[in-house]
Symmetry: C2
Subunit: 336 residues, 2 copies
DNA sequence: CTGAAAGCGCTAACAT
DNA sequence: ATGTTAGCGCTTTCAG
């Protein structure tokens, strides 16, 4: 049995009494950057320690109108990339004295409610972390005017929320260039779920890149979920129904999970290395000897810094930033 | 540029005025389960909508002494298992009207500060999610008496914080039984980092199980980090320095990440299938065709439910629960 | 540098 | 069922 040893609550009043100063002097002691005589400070700190006093940040927030809480909205956890982003984001927030209030919107239609609740909790901002924004987001965004709304690693057509994203077009273009350089002639693109806020730019850059180099995008594959196993099934289907000589020799996958699935399918089919594959996100797992996935690394820390900055000051503008290709083995065509 | 369209703050006073009722009636309207006449309710709701009023939950918390915030302490994000746990935990909390305040303690020595800060924020409890608790945790735990402290998926010798964990001993025992049943004769255990709060039970159950069946644990491997690639290196080393006929034929890995590393090493070494391998955690990835990892699935949802319950009521006792083996292919000895 | 008044926005407890 | 009193614990004026 766990007991809640509710200690007698100690407030600034008691500390003030013990230290022989006023309540307001106690407050100042615990507010960095407030003028206070060294003597008073020591006396207060001493009394506080003796009483086990800690300022109630909730009460402070009510006064200052700042909670230091940032709602972080995530819609898919079980994804290595999201994990990395969440790791870095929560860390960056903490470094700036902010805290991440995690909002899990796996349950699609509750987004609006959850974000509204966060708003009522007086969070200082909302960051949508690679979340696939659904329809009601429009109304949501217009309801929340009090605090900054930021979308990182996702696009959004609306003018309202601040968008901070990878330059998907440039990425697609670079990948087309890489693949053509490897000698590929037939190209495929493997997309994930298509929602309201899409990542078409990634494909467009790829396609434009191919065109510019005299090639076409001949095959479009799709999976309704960024799921490795589903992607594997889809690609296995492609391999099974397409005679070897008709197959593409290069494929750009919308993210690494899909790319893994493609590689799995090729391994199972015994044709590993016959098709160049490039992923996106550069999750740590890609370095695995079993995959050696070539991937595009988004400018994670730069974008996260911007997102945090946007929470702190209101002077961040919509931005797309280039990432960079991480070359390993999977983009090479070894066997044919 | 993002503008903070600071709307004129609307409080319950304004709503009360417009609705022609008192402030407290407004409060009641927004507190589920409080008696209120339908007429008044409608009038208030109407006025509230008109004014765009939303109750300030912060102020409410100050009064009620409940924030509905639960600090969730995580020390390693980039781990599929943690991700799953965090996903389920945050979801379970939400379902119960609670919210997860994410505390990222990647930076080891800041645990105490961060948890203390959470305490000052008046969180209603703290959940350590599979976090490796370091030394100063002892003092930490004794400092926080106001709210329940729970450790899930980790052991802890201290009597104070509530521990909710998998029955690691039983798991180890079951795995020994499985491996012996597969015809293995020589056994290894591959452990991860050894900290203050260890998972020795997992190994002990394994070892006792082997003994009971007439076998011994002959090889102990270790990696200082639950990292697939590091584990791969370590196991590659083992394979390279141990002649084939002297090698173990079964290995139990402390978690799936390590097990993946072992499989990677075997694949690279061309001896895939020669050694039975069993992991722990049953991360989704284990189902990958490239691994087909047999693993032990901890009773995740049961433990998480208990943790949430512990936040809600103070009647949860220290518990260990059995999980179950998930049989795929990796525990079979195919080639020798 | 320190003290006092007023108030952040809401709700518990009691009264009506 | 509704209104009242008193406060949650802190901070922001602004005097002294």
């Amino acid at each position: 049995m766990k007991k809640n040893t509710s200690q007698p609550k100690v407030t600034s009043v008691e500390v003030a009494a013990l230290a022989g100063v006023s309540r307001w002097t106690v407050s100042r002691t615990f507010t960095p950057g407030k003028p206070i005589s060294e003597e008073a400070r020591v006396r207060v700190l001493d009394a506080a320690k003796q009483l086990g006093y800690k300022p109630n940040l909730l009460a402070r927030s009510l006064s200052t109108q700042k909670t230091g809480l940032i709602a972080v909205v995530v819609d898919t956890f079980q994804n290595y990339n999201v994990m990395k982003l969440l790791d870095q984001l929560s860390f960056a927030l903490q470094k700036n004295g902010l805290r991440a209030l995690l909002i899990n919107v796996a349950d699609e239609d509750s987004v609006a409610d959850l974000v509204e609740h966060a708003d009522q909790l007086q969070t200082d901002g909302v960051i949508f972390l690679g979340a696939t924004l659904t329809g009601d987001f429009v109304s949501l965004a217009s309801n929340i005017k009090r605090i900054p709304l930021v979308i990182v690693f996702r696009d959004c057509d609306l003018p309202e929320p601040l968008v901070l994203n990878t330059d998907d077009y440039a990425a697609g273009f670079d990948i087309a260039t890489l693949l053509v350089g490897e000698g590929a002639k037939q190209f495929a693109y493997f997309s994930g779920p298509t929602g309201m806020t899409t990542r078409v730019n990634r494909r467009e850059g790829y396609e434009d890149g191919l065109h510019q180099l005299g090639f076409d995008l001949s095959v479009l594959l799709n999976v309704t979920n960024y799921d490795q196993f589903m992607a594997c099934d889809v690609f296995a289907g492609y391999l099974n129904t397409t005679p070897k000589h008709e197959r593409v020799d290069a494929i750009f996958c919308e993210n690494d999970a899909v790319a893994f699935g493609v590689i799995d399918a090729m391994r199972a089919h015994g044709c590993l290395g016959s098709i160049a594959v490039v992923g996106f996100d550069d999750i740590a797992y890609g370095a695995s000897p079993s995959y050696q996935l070539t991937s595009y690394a988004p400018p994670v820390s730069a974008l996260i810094d911007l997102a945090v900055q946007a929470m702190l000051r209101n002077d961040v503008a919509r931005t797309v930033l280039k990432g960079q290709l991480v070359l390993r083995e999977s983009h090479k065509i070894i066997a044919r």
